[in-house]
């Protein structure tokens, strides 16, 4: 959340943009159960995360491993 705050975007926007930024990904499947959730997703449409932000994300996932193996 700190990374998103520093980049001036919501963490939902950050996570969506991060997903799009992989060469093996064609289209990121998002979801909304409420209309109010759509705006943060759409904010990722033309967003490209900087190498610094991508690196900061990598550091977090290195520090906090996926708990389900």
């Amino acid at each position: 959340m700190q990374i998103a705050a520093e980049a001036g975007i919501s963490v939902v926007t950050l996570a969506t943009a991060w997903s799009k930024q992989h060469d093996f990904v064609a289209s990121t499947i998002v979801g909304a159960s409420k209309f109010d959730q759509v705006a943060d997703i759409l904010a990722a449409i033309d967003l490209e995360l900087s190498p610094e932000v991508m690196k900061a994300c990598d550091q977090v996932t290195k520090d906090i491993l996926y708990p389900m193996g």
Binding site: M1, S10, V11, V12, A15, T16, W18, S19, K20, H22, D23, F24, V25, A26, S27, T28, I29, V30, G31, A32, S33, K34, F35, V38, I41, L42, A44, I45, D46, C57, V60, T61, I64, L65, Y66, P67, M68
Partner: protein, 275 residues
Amino acid sequence: MKHRRLGKSPIFVSDICMGTMTFGTQTDEKEAFRILDASLDAGINFFDTAENYPVPPDLKYGGLTEEIFGRWMKTKDRDAIILATKVCGPSHGWIKGSQRAGMTALDRHNIRRAVEASLTRLQTDYIDLYQTHWPDHGIAYDEVMETLDDLVREGYVRIVGCSNEDAWGLMKSIAASDRLGTVRYQTIQNNFSLNNRRFEDALSKVCKEEGVSLIPYSPIGGGVLSGKYNGGATPEGARFSAGGRRRWRNASSTKSRWRRPSVTCRSRPRPGSVW
């Protein structure tokens, strides 16, 4: 909005796809239409549903999401929409599909029944991307790929994909397709997010080498990455809040979907199963 090719197929889609799995349970039809309208207006042309939806899967209302989507799509230009849906995998003890009395399977009979029912609910005569929702690793891929090939030749389906597949299964399916000369999976729809980067291991290599596209689901970990559950919060109406969690666990699985979170997990757990 950027557009990208699905696998080696002729189909290009917006690089954001709108999912639908809560439409009919958590999200009513009116709200669903608002979400879909806003998505299409923003340039999203790619939509994903399944015969198994809405979640949690239940025989009582399975297929309702496709019905809702079909009614929405009727109000739009069908040609402007890339529609993806899925046939349920096998109903073994771990997960049970919400169709065909909970006895779904990936044989010719079930896949045909599934596509016919989906087309009826969706009120269309073709599906752009037809996916196997979860694999059956106890059978050969031959019958699956041959049946999917027939569906493409007959015009029911344009291209095919898999979901919740692993590297072994994807390679076996590609080998079967190449040997039989059938269509091959152009996409794989798996869980991939900042919370779950397992795809980066073996599957990302298979995708790159074989020209298969990942269309990742749960990019915000089912809401976990929004931060709304941080500090043990249980926001009302949210999927993993206490009541919702019980509801999910009891929905259709004979086993709990939930595993104890590891001590290194700062967020709440998410389902380890297949949506």
